[in-house]
Amino acid sequence: MSAIDLNNLNIAYSSVQVVHGASLTVNEGESFALVGESGSGKSTILKAICGLNDEWTGEIKLYGEKVDPRNRADISRISQMVFQDPYGSLHPRKTVDTTLSEPLAIHGIKDNGDRVVEMLNAVGLDQRYRFRFPHQMSGGQRQRVAIARALMLKPKLLLLDEPTSALDVSVQAEILNLLKQLRKDQNLTFLLVTHDLPVVSFLCDRLAVMKKGKIVEIATRDQLAKGEFNDAYSQELYHASKHEHVA
């Protein structure tokens, strides 16, 4: 079964159309990437899937169920999101413990903090961070908390919005390894938005290249490794990223 089906998805902010007829399928258990320059509409697609933006037409199916933008069922236990900026995605006045317990409280799940302890272990955070405030932690630690929060409700699908681009290079590697490990342990499906092709080749099975709101090509990791893209823009993006690494 496919985890995400997008069919002719159009997204517009007021009168400006940002995404034009995007269609793609993400299989269950797969790790899929959306790549493209900033402004190409990749984050917008992510927001439409998770429900932060309801201004779209077309069809979104999650695990075979159609999503109705006007009458959204609660999909919080199916899909969760990790945001780009770990400094902005944690409530500044809440301890790690409160942040992580909140999803359980919302869904009325009784738990004596076992799940919090378990998730802190899973994301490799020591228990002494449990009652800290966000300002008492580093960016990487915060992003681990954000990942733990996304996994509290045991979702099957994780939407990742440039989860490492706000972090130091060394911390980026840690977070990427953590994500890879978690995906293996918990059988997660990933939909990752990034502009960083090395991240894609490390973490993803397939990728869609976006340009100006259109999906220009869907390629596999092998194609990415060999640089065998069919579309001229994908080639350009590939060479630009190669160049970046030489420099």
């Binding site: 919080s76 969760q80 995605s89 413990d97 909140e102 961070y129 008492q136 409700l153």
Partner: protein
């Protein structure tokens, strides 16, 4: 003691209580480092103690008349002198602190939560909810405070309860504006998006996640406004629309003393002095609180 401090300042607290106690302790420490704020705090604490123990502190009854001893200048018998009915002014000022404190606390307790909730709802939902609620707020905001309070008191009848209601009704729009402005700064923040994605209802988001972030600026603003509330209450009292005789309300006392201000200056000056000191106290405290509660300072101190 050092164990206690260590426990409070631990960077890896072991319980929720310790985490919050630690944060409160850090704020207390930075408050201690601000002499003006401490001055304000001492004045406010003295006011509270004075109100609580008024019968023990005041040497005379605040309403007992003694016509033999009217309009006496300050002396060892009557520290602040006596008024036109021979009542001891010091005792009246001490008992008056109860009225002042009651007015300030009741106004804050009515108007701050009201403004907070209206502002947060308005800012969070936006759109037509925001337009309607802010329209109403603007109507109230556009009327001068004292005039509006006067109109209410005129309609409801003079008296201290009505003065409190009138001041509260004129005070909340400013708080609604602040709460809305605060809410707008983080309604699109990712931590609010994250909590939405977890399936939280708007009520839960506003109460648990939006309001806690508005409260610190609200506390600061309310503390700073307390001086204004005291002055408005005194103004109403002065005009004879607040506390009624023989209640020892400071504004009303000044009003009575006005008749003798040239020959018996102490009758009007002593309660006026009390108003100034308490207003200043709240201003200093509010200023200090602004420094330590400012979210931009969070984690730096």
């Amino acid at each position: 003691m050092s164990n206690m401090t260590e426990w409070l300042l631990s960077d890896s607290p072991t319980s929720k209580g310790q985490a919050f106690a630690g944060r409160a302790w850090r704020m207390w420490l930075s408050l201690l480092g601000n002499p003006l704020a401490i001055t304000g705090l001492i004045i406010v604490v003295v006011l509270v103690l004075m109100a609580a123990f008024a019968p023990l502190i005041a040497p005379y009854s605040p309403i007992g008349q003694d016509l033999q001893n009217r309009l006496l200048p300050p002396s060892w018998q009557h520290w602040m002198g006596t008024d036109e009915l021979g009542r001891d002014i010091f005792s009246r000022v001490v008992y008056g602190s109860r009225l002042t404190l009651m007015i300030v606390l009741l106004v804050a307790a009515i108007s701050a939560p009201l403004g907070l909730v209206i502002g947060a709802i308005s800012g969070y939902f936006g759109g037509w909810v925001d337009k309607v609620m802010m329209g109403i707020t603007d109507i109230f905001l556009s009327m001068p405070k004292l005039i509006m309070a006067l109109a209410f008191v005129a309609a409801l009848g003079p008296g201290i309860e009505n003065a409190i209601i009138a001041i509260a009704i004129t005070a909340w729009p400013a708080y609604a504006r602040i709460a809305r402005a605060e809410t707008l700064t983080f309604r699109n923040a990712e931590f609010i998006d994250a909590i939405k994605l977890q399936g939280a209802s708007p009520a839960r988001i506003i109460i648990n996640h939006v309001l806690p972030l508005c409260t610190s600026s609200m506390i600061v603003r309310v503390t700073l406004d307390m001086a204004g509330i005291i002055l408005t209450a005194a103004g109403l009292g002065f005009l004879g629309l607040g506390a009624q005789p023989p209640l020892p309300e400071w504004g009303a006392m000044i009003s009575r003393g006005r008749a003798f201000i040239l020959d018996q200056w102490w009758v009007a000056t002593m309660p006026g002095f009390a108003i100034i000191v308490v207003s200043l106290g709240f201003c200093f405290l509010g200023d200090g609180l602004r420094d330590i509660l400012d979210p931009k300072n969070e984690g730096k101190s």
